[in-house]
Symmetry: C2
Subunit: 413 residues, 2 copies
């Protein structure tokens, strides 16, 4: 047994979360390093979905809005997410997609900061963040989107016209973590509000929204939270804004009394005002069930395991793949790196990832040249991390990737 093998075994044996993987369906032989795109299915999710469909819907029908708690899902599911992101009960709602929630929060921030009309956004953020800001700016005269580039410090780009700064806590390509406390403070000192996108954070990386005194946050529940494909997204609002925040997607389920059927909208007096229309209950139920797994998770151990896994992967790849022009595109310092690791590989990155997939190691490729590997600390083992690096080394060494079957591109990458 070589040194890396030995280390992987030791790390697995010392892992306090090592039994959590038994709670998930892991397809036979698959090394799944794409939990940052779509998390594994918790074993209980299938039964939950069957119950909601085959009983709550089929038998309970309209009565289940009350009897099965459907009506309260946006807040009950939100309360399950709150501790994972450093929020308190009553602060998180689950509804709509991350994109839609970004729109709500950006508009709400402009309303809270009415003398300023610029949205400051990361030029290299995940595109939908920019697109939603652009959509809002295209709709509301005088509102504009200003970008800062990755070499710039966002706080340095805040003039007295910036109402809100939209940042990803963990960068979707590089995995770089922004210091939430320091950045929130610097942004607020310049008179702007801070909106965090936690899509690559929640469930894998330490996050303390209240301790950081952030203003708002949104995030995705189908990645490290394992809520299922397209599971509804979450929104967090700092309690100090709860009574004054207004968002324009003011649908009936955000109303203070939705079944009074009054003509004028009056927002709920709590976070529920961030909810808009009727939630997709079956998808919500799968997420609800997935989140029950978190009740017994030692979060500090989880954040630590994430760091250890990504560090171990970097070490293994750099040792095993020497001479193949892989360049680490993620921070080397543990405290600055989220739960995925990116390597740049010019020229044949797409083909290499396809060859990995063919071997049963699933990561993803981000155009033009990024190989991205996500490490869900809740269910992965260090042995899997090492095996992934070994497969990568073999594919590069043998040029297995250099085959026309790996050049075909689909609609989704």
């Amino acid at each position: 047994m070589n040194t890396l093998d030995k280390r992987a075994n030791e790390l697995d044996q010392a892992d306090p979360l090592r039994t959590m993987r038994n709670q998930f369906h892991i397809p036979n032989g698959l090394i799944y390093l794409d939990g940052n795109s779509l998390g594994l299915m918790p074993l209980t999710a299938a039964a939950k979905v069957a119950e909601v469909t085959g009983n709550e819907w089929a038998n309970g029908l309209i009565r289940s809005w009350t009897d099965a708690g459907w009506f309260h899902l946006p807040t009950t599911v939100g309360d399950r997410i709150a501790p994972i992101i450093g929020g308190n009960p009553g602060e998180v709602t689950v509804a709509d997609s991350t994109s839609v929630n970004l729109f709500k929060c950006l508009a709400a921030a402009l309303h809270l900061n009415p003398d300023r009309q610029v949205i400051l956004a990361e030029g290299d953020n995940f595109p939908t963040d920019s697109y939603m800001a652009q959509g809002l700016a295209g709709l509301v005269p005088d509102v504009t989107v200003r970008y800062f580039e990755s070499h710039e410090n966002p706080a340095d780009c805040i003039g007295d016209d910036v109402a809100v700064v939209l940042l990803s806590h963990v960068d979707y390509r590089s995995s770089r973590i922004r210091d939430m406390t320091a950045t929130s403070k610097a942004v607020q000192e310049k008179g702007a509000l801070i909106l965090w996108d936690l899509s690559h954070t929640s469930g894998a990386v330490a996050c303390e929204l209240n301790n950081a005194n952030a203003d708002m946050a949104v995030g995705c529940s189908y990645k490290y939270l394992n809520g299922g494909p397209g599971a509804p997204a979450f929104t967090w609002v700092n309690q100090r804004h709860a009574a004054s925040i207004r968002q324009p997607l003011s649908g009936w389920l955000g109303h203070a009394a939705p079944f009074d059927f009054s003509r004028e909208f009056a927002p709920a007096d709590n976070a529920r005002r961030m909810v808009c229309g009727t939630p997709p209950v079956i998808s919500m139920a799968a997420l609800d069930e997935a989140l029950k797994l978190w009740e017994n998770v030692d979060l500090a151990a989880l954040w630590n395991k994430s760091s250890e896994m990504t560090a171990f992967f970097i070490e293994a790849v750099e040792q095993l793949c020497q001479g193949h022009n892989l360049t680490l595109a993620s921070p080397r310092n543990n405290s600055e790196r989220g739960s995925h690791v990116s390597f740049e590989l010019d020229g044949h990155g797409f083909e290499v990832m396809q060859a990995m997939v063919a071997r049963g190691v699933i990561g993803d490729f981000r155009s033009p040249s990024t190989l991205r590997f996500g490490f869900a600390p809740l269910y992965l083992s260090f042995q899997e991390v090492l095996q992934a690096a070994q497969h990568l080394a073999e594919i590069l060494e043998t040029r297995e990737w250099d085959n026309e079957i790996y050049r075909v591109r689909g609609a989704v990458t």
Copy 2:
């Protein structure tokens, strides 16, 4: 056998759709007249949801976005809805909630009609329609919402400042049908666009969007389309607007090339530009499966059955419940009435509906005094219609409703 019984039997025997009810799970002993709030579960939906969860998600994981067709669900499911509402393939997308889609379409209409800034809305429409218009008007300076009252003709209320008129095709309380062709024409002749809400139309009432030359439409898929609780809603856009329409919820899945990850939003060159973020796949799949039932449905027979059922219910109630102060609150003329029937009952309407529910007859109560009964023509029998009227008569005759257990109100009514 009395005359009404005989008629019910004859109508059931002559019903060309009578075997369709075998495709649905009908809880034992339940007479379900709330398919206009949440439709019954198609028997195939449970298996579909199990497959999507336990195989496509569990085993396929991220690959299912391509391999299981998840990526294309907004348009493939939309294409199944198109013929039911008089649309063509490629014109309908399924995404988000009806409320969110109302916002998209209202904003898109203002963009298409840039010299006008008033949204003309029905004062008595389903509240979320008004709330979404209010949310948009609160966000965009100079945009306002103007209401017309139910005794007014909307076209008479259109000045040269009205950009778009938002109307429900079938009124959620009274069931009154608006003439889609005549109204669309009258609105357009005044220089405004017409946006139809088909929530109480689609799947129960004849609707020919293209023949009526409408501009846009949205609607709900969990009522007569049986898509499951909170199933994603649909949006239809007239082909003449397809290339020019812009909507502000411009998320990455409405982008022309979402996986290019470009910074600037560029809308898809088709109806997909109405899509925003990642769809809730499990809920979408249930809807997709439910819509397969429609491939063999004779739509003309369905629309006719809807009229016959509601007419028969009115006749039975008026005959059996004489002297109990029930007042028909729906049009008596078949061609003016949708697929639900409302009666006003002052003072104890809520309690009467609770007593009906206790007997296994589920309709709903709409504050302050409306008893509403929905007749899904796809799966109900005329015998059930008659039995519902008989239960209502007995409850009124014996004052069974006058019991404290029927006075308790829940969060959802």
